[in-house]
Structures are given as structure tokens and as C-alpha cells.
Subunit: 237 residues, 2 copies
């Protein structure tokens, strides 16, 4: 069994040497850039850990794990677009559209999603691709509710926007190791709760951000109060 840190290392290595489809031509540059900006790679690490827990070698789950990271990256690249959150930066680097232009930013997200499908379709059965498509649609639905609908139940939004892909991090691994559907129920229960956990962590981080914002606006020495907030802080996945 590998540690999470070792699994992350394997994911990084695999992402570096990922073989993008040759017909992408120059569009591949922005796809690689958006994958290199990095992150904690939590989703693929969860998938690999589920696979190892079920006794499968890393290589068997790796395409599904990478597919999850590509879908996650696709969602970030499109989220950052001026038409969406209009973010110039992502983890201290220019966001993909900012670096390559808006048109390439749209296409980079599209290409990441299509490459994710190509990875998911490396398995003989279509189950991995189907589960990935369903999770992607749930995530898109969450995006829609979050950015376009005012006052929609925030918990439901986060369950889709954040939780859906964490759920899939477990369930894609189940199909990748060919665990029969009738044995999947306890894993799916875990997947639901894991999605919920990440959603709650996300909510706390949002609230944590708001608290810090308000604190910064107060014209007084709030050092100790900030230390208290710091001590409560959880880390974003």
C-alpha cells in the first residue's frame, strides 16, 4: 500500500507524461499548462487508494484517476473564464484564459473533458466513462445553480459542485477494478459521505474566508482574533 504522498507522486508523474491526442496540435500547450498549475490531486489519490484497498495494482486505476483530475481541471479552466468567475489567477499563476486568450481557454476546457473521456474509455467496459459523464453533468448542474440561480439551497449546490466529483473518485475506482455492482453498495455509501465531508470542509473554508475579510475591515489590533481563526482553519483539498 502506498501513502497518500506516494500516490500523489505517482499521479504527478503520470500527468507529466500524459499522451495527449496528436490531432490537438497547438491546443495541447494550454492543456498541459492547465494540468501543470498543480494542486493537491486529491481526487486521483482517493481513486488510487480505493483501488489499493481492493487489492488492485495502481496501474489498473491510474487511467480512471487521471480522468478525474482532467475533469476537475476542465471545470477550473471554464470557471475562471470572464463569462464565469472572471479569475485572472489560479494558484498564483495566470489562469489558462489569461495566459492564452479566452478562445483558447474555452477550447482547453473542452479538450480536457474529451481527454478525460479518452482515458475513461481505455477500460474495455464503458462503465467508467458512464460514471464519469454522470458526475460531470452533476458538477455542471451545480455550477449552474451556483452562478445563475439566486438563493438555491446552498447545501444542494455544494453537494453537486464539490461533492459530485469526490463521489466519482470512489465509484470510478470500483468500476476500474471491476468490482461487481452488487458489492458496490457499502463503497457508494462511503462515497456519498466523503462528498459531503469535502462539501462541509469547503463551506468552512468559505466561512473562514468571510471571517477573515470582516476581520481585515476592522480598524483595531485583531492579531489575537486572527490567531484564533487560524487555529480553527482546515485545509482545502
Amino acid at each position: 500500500m502506498h501513502s497518500p504522498e506516494e500516490l500523489k507522486g505517482l499521479v504527478e508523474e503520470a500527468l507529466e507524461r500524459i499522451d495527449l491526442w496528436p490531432e490537438l496540435h497547438g491546443q495541447a500547450t494550454s492543456v498541459r499548462y492547465s494540468l501543470e498549475v498543480g494542486g493537491k490531486r486529491v481526487r486521483p489519490v482517493i481513486a488510487l487508494a480505493v483501488g489499493e484497498a481492493l487489492g488492485a495494482p495502481v496501474e489498473q486505476v491510474l487511467p480512471a484517476a487521471l480522468a478525474l483530475e482532467l475533469v476537475h481541471t476542465f471545470s477550473l479552466v471554464h470557471d475562471d473564464l470572464p463569462a464565469m468567475d472572471d479569475d485572472d489567477e489560479r494558484r498564483g499563476q495566470p489562469s489558462t484564459w489569461k495566459k492564452f486568450g479566452e478562445g483558447v481557454g474555452v477550447l482547453a476546457g473542452d479538450a480536457l473533458l474529451a481527454e478525460a473521456v479518452r482515458l475513461a474509455a481505455r477500460y474495455e467496459s464503458s462503465a467508467v466513462a458512464r460514471e464519469l459523464a454522470e458526475a460531470t453533468l452533476g458538477m455542471i448542474g451545480g455550477q449552474y445553480l451556483d452562478t445563475m440561480v439566486d438563493g438555491y439551497d446552498l447545501a444542494a449546490v455544494h453537494r453537486l459542485k464539490t461533492g459530485r466529483l469526490f463521489y466519482a473518485s470512489v465509484t470510478l475506482a470500483l468500476w476500474a477494478v471491476e468490482l461487481p455492482e452488487e458489492d458496490q453498495a457499502p463503497w457508494r455509501g462511503f462515497a456519498e459521505e466523503l462528498g459531503l465531508l469535502f462539501q462541509i470542509v469547503d463551506d468552512i473554508l468559505d466561512e473562514d474566508g468571510y471571517v477573515r475579510e470582516h476581520l481585515a475591515e476592522i480598524d483595531a489590533d485583531t492579531t489575537v482574533l486572527r490567531d484564533i481563526v487560524d487555529s480553527l482553519a482546515v485545509r482545502r483539498a
Copy 2:
């Protein structure tokens, strides 16, 4: 065997009653809108015709055929975005982003691609989804070359941008009817040439458009010349 017109009718019917993923929530409205704007549905009709030529019932090829139309529609929805071609209209109707806003336009394209994958993943084998992902990546590469690179070989651009999905219209049907890979070569030869044919038709239509533009700028009675151009006109698929 159905006529192309009958096959188109079957495609329209199936598109009308397509079951979008429930987690899309309100995002489904713009997805349906972009599918209803219509078109000749040539790609799915080709796929169904290939299936019937191979003796398979329409229902067997229908999910693959619809997946092709959804990928085609996804490409139009993203092409129309301000960041790309900035088109307000599509077939006389407001383009998706113009009707629902730019953010929803981005998400509508994303959702169409993910729904296409869900359709392709209805087959037990992942071959349909894999072939669809490869074609989509080729199309995206063509888009990139067309909009971002000046002076790239125009024939190569069109082969990817237009021809790639026509090629897939044939090859997806082959996997959908489970034609063994060793028997696919003559069909793939046909698919290549079909892609090329549509590319040439596309080029003629572009040129046809330019001719008409120049004609319109001439301050004289060009009625007869326009009739001559009309008589040469080919129809866009």
C-alpha cells in the same frame, strides 16, 4: 431500409424525447434549446444509414447517432461564444449564449459534450465512447488551428474541423453494431473520403459565399450572374 428523410425524422423524434441527466437542473433548458434550433442532422443520419447497411436495427445505432449530433451541437454552441466567433444568431434564432447569457452558453456546450459521452457509454463496450472522444479532440484541434493560427494549411484545418466528425459518423456506427475491427478497413476508407467530401462541399460553400459578397458590392444589375452562381450552389449539410 429507411430513406434519409425518414432517418432524419427518427433522429428529430429521439432528440425531442432525449432524457437529460436530472442533476443538470435548470441548465437543461439551454441544452434543449440548442438541440431544438435544428439543422439537417446529417451526422446521425449517416450513422443510422451505416447501421442499416450492416443489417442492424435503428435502435442499436441511435445512441451513437444522437451522441454525434450532441457533439456537433456542442461545437456550434462554443463556436458562437463572444470569445470565439461571436455570433448572435444560429439558423435565424438567437445563439445559445445570446439567449441565456455567456456563462450558461459555456456550460451548455460542456453539458452537451458530457451528455454525448453518456449516450456513447450506453454500449457495453467503451469503443463508441473512445472513438467519439478521439473525433472530438480532432475537431477541437481543427478549431484551434482555424481560429488561433494564421496561414495553417486550410485543407488540414477543414479535415479536422469538418471532416473529423463525419468520419466518426461512420466509425461510431461500426462499433455500435459490433463490427469486428478486422472488418472495418473498407468502411474506414469510405469514412475518410466522406469527411473529405464534406470538407470540399464546405470549401465550395465558403467560396460561394465570397462570390455572392463580391457580387453584392458591384453597382450593376447582376441578376443573371447571381442566377448562374445559384445554379452552381451546393447545399450545406
